[in-house]
Amino acid sequence: MTTSRTADEMAQDMAIVEKNIAHAGRPITIVWVVLMLATCVSWYFGDGHGATKLAAVLVIITGFVKVYLIMEHFMELRTAPPQLRFAFTAWCVVIPTILCGIYLVRS
Amino acid sequence: MTVRDFEPSSAAASPEQMVPSQSYEDLSPAQKDAQSMNRIGQLACAFWGPGMIVFFGIGAIWLSGYWPPEKLPGASAVEVLEWYQAHNTRLKVGLVFMTIAYSVMCWYGVVMAVQTRRKEGAFPVWTYVQLVCMACGTAQIVIMGAVWYAAAFRAGGCSDKNPCDLAPGSMEYIAYAANVQMMHDLGWMILLGTWMPFTFWNWALAAAILLDKSSTPVFPRWSGYLSILAGCSYICGQGDLFFFEGAFGWNGIFALYWNFGIFGFWVLTFAWLSYKNVQRGYVHTQDVVAK
C-alpha cells in the first residue's frame, strides 16, 4: 500500500512532525488549562447563574469550543489534511447551531 | 496440499510478491475455466447484498408497513390487533418477502467469509466466527418472520370450532388482542433487541481485515473500521427493551433508522468490495496453505 515518495515530500512530512514535536511543551498545557477553565465557566452557568436562556446557550457553545480545542490540538487535526480538518470544524459549528436553534425556537 | 494452482499472475512466486493487479480479463482460457464456477458463486453471493435490501424494501416498507412501524411500542393490545386486521393479506405477503430478505443473508455472508479465508491457514478462526455468527443471526431473524406470521395468522381469522365473534371490550377479546400483541412485541425484540450475533459477525470480519499482516489485503483497512462501527451501532437496538417512546424505542431514530441505515450501508459497501475482488481475479487463490 505504501507508495514511493520524493525526497521533497519526505522533507515536508518531517517538517510537520518536527513542528508537532517543537510545540510539544507549553501550548498543549495551555490548551489544557483553557479546557479546565471552560469547564468551570460552564459549570458556573449551569449552576443557576445568569439569565436562563443565555446560560443554556453559553453552556452549549462552551462545550463545542472545548471540543474544537480537543480536535485541533489533541487529535492533531491542526496538521491534518484540510478536508478532514474542515469536516470536523464544520461539525463543531453545525451541531451547536442546530442545538441552540432547537432550544431557542422551542423554549 | 496446495491450492495455488490457478494464480492470476503468471509470474507469481512467494505470497509477498503476489499482487492483486490482474483483472479477470487477463486470465488464460484455462484459468478462466478453472475459476468460473467459484467466480459465479461469489458473484451470486455478492449480488444478494443489494438483493436483500430490495426484498426488504418490498416486504417491510411497501407491503406490510412494519418499517417504519405504524403502531408505537406504547400502543394498546387492541390497537395492535386492529392494525394486523386492517391489511391482513397484504401484510402476510409482505412478511414473506421480508423473510426471504433475511434468509438470503446466508448467501451474502458467505462471500466475505470465503474471501477473507484466503489469508488464513488450516484453521481459519475468523472465517468460522463470521460464518457461525452470520448463521445464528439469520436463523434468529427468520424466526422473527415466523413470530409475525403467527401474529398475522391469529389476527386474520378464526375457525368454525373457535369462532372469534368476540364482543369488543370483553375480557376474551382483550386476551385475544394481548396474544397478538405479545407476538408482535416478540418479533421486534428478536429483530432489534438481540443484536449480538450481528455485532460479533461484523467484528470478526473487522478482525480478519485489520489483523492481516500481508501487503496484499483482501479488503482495504478502512472497511475494517467501518465494520467495527457497524457492529457497535447495532447495540443501539438494545433500547427497545427499555423504552416505550423516544429515540431508543423500536420506532425511534436510533433503534430503527440508525441501526438499519448503517447495516444497509455496510452491506452495500461490502457487496461492492467483494464484487471488486472477484473482478480483480482473486477468486481461486490461497495465501497461506496447509503444509
Binding site: V17, I28, T39, D47, F74, E76, R106 | W222, L229, A247
Partner: protein
C-alpha cells in the same frame, strides 16, 4: 512468516519494516502513505471513518436530548437537579487529564524520550477511576429510586452515559495495548500507527463526554 516474534502483540498489525531503532522511530512515524492532500492523517484513515460515524451517532443523541428536553421542560429540569453534578465534573476532569497524558505519551514515543509507558499507564488509571466513579454515581441514583424507565430524561441519561462508558472501556483496552507497544525499545511503523489510533480514539471518548456532560447536567430550561 519469516520473522520470529517473542511478544504476541509484536505481530499485531505487523508490517514489512520490522525492527527499527528508537532514533529511527521519528522518521518511520512520518512514512505514511502519501495522499494527494497536504498534511498528515493522525493514525490511519480508517479510524477517522469510525470517528466520523461515531460522531454522527452521538450527534443524533445530542439532538434527541435537547428536543426531548423542550417537550417536557419541567420533568427534565427536575430530573437534572437530582443528578450528582460533582461526579460528572470529576469525570470531565479525569478525561481531560487522560487526554493530556495521551498527547504527551504519543509525543514521547515519537521523540523516543521515554516515559510513554508511564503516561499510558496513568491514562489507563484515569479510565479506571472514571469507571469506579460512574459506578458509584449509578448506584447512588438507583438508591435514590431512579431508573432507566422513570422518565425520558433518565432513559437518555442512562443509555447515553452507558454507551459512553462502553466507549471508555474499549478505550482502556486500547490504552493497555498502547502501553504494551510503548514498553518496547523499538516500535514499527504499524505499531506507532496503532498507538496513534488509540490516542485519537481516547480523545473521541473525551470529547463525547465534554458535550454529554453539559447537555445532561448543566443545561437549564
Amino acid at each position: 512468516m519469516t520473522q520470529m516474534q517473542q511478544d504476541p502483540l509484536a505481530g499485531l498489525f505487523g508490517d514489512p519494516f520490522q525492527g527499527t531503532a528508537r532514533g529511527e522511530a521519528i522518521r518511520i512515524a512520518t512514512e505514511k502513505e502519501r495522499k494527494p492532500l497536504k498534511g498528515r492523517i493522525p493514525g490511519e484513515a480508517g479510524i477517522w471513518i469510525f470517528i466520523i460515524g461515531d460522531l454522527i451517532a452521538f450527534s443524533i443523541i445530542f439532538l434527541v436530548i435537547v428536543s426531548a428536553r423542550m417537550d417536557e421542560p419541567e420533568v427534565f429540569e427536575a430530573s437534572r437537579h437530582s443528578l450528582h453534578i460533582e461526579f460528572g465534573a470529576l469525570n470531565t476532569l479525569l478525561l481531560l487529564v487522560g487526554s493530556l497524558l495521551v498527547v504527551r505519551a504519543i509525543r514521547a514515543m515519537r521523540t523516543g524520550s521515554g516515559g510513554a509507558p508511564l503516561l499510558f499507564g496513568l491514562t489507563w488509571l484515569c479510565g479506571l477511576i472514571f469507571v469506579v466513579n460512574k459506578g458509584i454515581e449509578y448506584s447512588m441514583l438507583i438508591n435514590d429510586g431512579h431508573s432507566i424507565d422513570e422518565n425520558l430524561f433518565y432513559g437518555y441519561y442512562f443509555i447515553g452515559t452507558a454507551l459512553h462508558l462502553f466507549h471508555l472501556v474499549i478505550g482502556m483496552i486500547g490504552m493497555f495495548v498502547a502501553y504494551r507497544i510503548s514498553k518496547r525499545a523499538v516500535h514499527t511503523n504499524r505499531e506507532m500507527q496503532l498507538a496513534e489510533v488509540f490516542g485519537a480514539y481516547w480523545h473521541l471518548v473525551d470529547l463525547l463526554w465534554v458535550i454529554l456532560f453539559p447537555l445532561l447536567y448543566l443545561m437549564r430550561v
